[in-house]
């Protein structure tokens, strides 16, 4: 969960503008887990709960 280096970010910007990567790919690669751990933890809990009740 490190910040994405500037060069990589700029390349991601370019690839997204060119339509070579999707918004989802851009989001995932830009974030690289940054600010996202709490959301993912809650999502994991929900997934477990659903699996348990299914």
């Amino acid at each position: 969960m490190d910040w994405v280096p500037k060069k990589v970010r700029h390349e991601l910007n370019r690839l997204y503008r060119m339509g070579e990567i999707s918004k989802k790919q851009l989001m995932d690669q830009m974030k690289n887990g940054l600010f996202d751990h709490e959301r993912l933890a809650v999502k994991k809990k929900l997934k477990r709960l659903l699996e348990k009740n299914d």
Binding site: V4, K6, Y16, R17, K31
Partner: protein
């Protein structure tokens, strides 16, 4: 008359050799056969049981047990109906709960998607803040690569817009003209515009950019083709757009701190949701220090730029 006398009477009849004895024997035999046939017929019909008891008699005998059994059966039927009703009720409840769980799951998915969008926006904010700081610290590099730096900074803002392909968002930053009066001039723009965008100088009166500049307030036009809006219809743009958002670059409400206007176009009508407009305002605040730094560096006073005089 006892039994012995009856026996003696029949012995006399037999010894006398008369016809009456034979007749009596046949009569009794035929009578017994007929009784047996009648018994079989009635047994077959169910009118009697094998002991010869009549059905009515049997019913009369079993009546209390039968009543009790009938009561039990009636009770069981009633209980069964009640149970079926309860099961149906539970079924309906389960169906309702299943539907609600499904709705909650959908809401969660929607909330999660938006939460993800927000965390992603946070990353774009961090990168913008970092690159603004880097540009201020490395003045030489900033001067040399100003266009590229703004290209990427504005890309971070555009990255937070939903539906990039449909909306084709493009950004231009205008500042007051250094030499001409009554117009603003190009300062920076995002990718997607041709260099001719630099030639566009919006009027302070009669353009959406000018409106935001004069009033130091966010000016959102959901449809530029609507009548009665302040908008420069001769605006040069490579692509057609229907939505326009103009955000003054200022520090708070003070007019004197306003150093320019950031405008964002969108192809469809009412392209930008409230959250997106709020993000544009947020990014305008992030970019402010760098633009301010650049203008001060060039020797243009921020007070001069945003003064009341420059707005009239």
């Amino acid at each position: 008359m006892d039994i012995s006398e009856i026996i003696r009477f029949f012995e006399r009849l037999e010894s006398s050799g008369g016809w009456f004895y034979d007749f009596l024997s046949y009569f009794i035999a035929i009578g017994l056969v007929l009784v047996f046939i009648i018994y079989l017929i009635r047994l077959w019909r169910g009118e009697i049981n094998w002991l010869g008891q009549r059905a009515e008699e049997i019913n009369e005998t079993d009546s209390p047990q039968r009543d009790e059994l009938e009561n039990q059966v009636t009770k069981l039927i009633q209980e069964n109906e009640l149970l079926i009703k309860q099961i149906n009720k539970k079924d309906r409840m389960i169906q309702k709960l299943t539907k609600e769980v499904k709705e909650v799951k959908q809401l969660y998915m929607e909330l999660d998607e938006r939460y993800e969008d927000e965390t992603y926006t946070m990353s774009q904010i961090v990168y913008t803040a970092e690159e603004v700081a880097t540009a201020i610290v490395n003045e030489e590099d900033f001067v040399k690569n100003k266009d590229d730096i703004y290209d990427n900074l504005l890309d971070y803002l555009i990255n937070t817009i939903r539906g990039y392909r449909e909306k084709s968002p493009r950004i231009v930053i205008h500042i007051p003209h250094f030499t001409k009066e009554g117009v603003l001039m190009h300062y920076a723009h995002s990718s997607g515009y041709s260099h001719r965008i630099k030639e566009y100088e919006p009027e302070i009166f009669g353009s959406a950019v000018g409106h935001a500049w004069r009033n130091n307030e966010v000016y959102y036009i959901p449809d530029v083709e609507e009548a009665g809006i302040e908008f420069d219809r001769n605006r040069q743009a490579k692509k057609k757009f229907r939505s326009l958002l103009c955000v003054p670059l200022s520090a708070g409400q003070d007019f004197s701190t306003c150093i320019g206007v950031l405008s964002l176009t969108g192809e469809p009508v009412n392209a930008y949701e409230k959250i997106e407009r709020e993000r544009v305002v947020l990014f305008s605040k992030l970019l402010y220090p760098l633009i301010y730094f650049d203008l001060v560096r060039k020797g243009v006073s921020a007070n001069g730029l945003g003064s009341q005089e420059s707005k009239t």
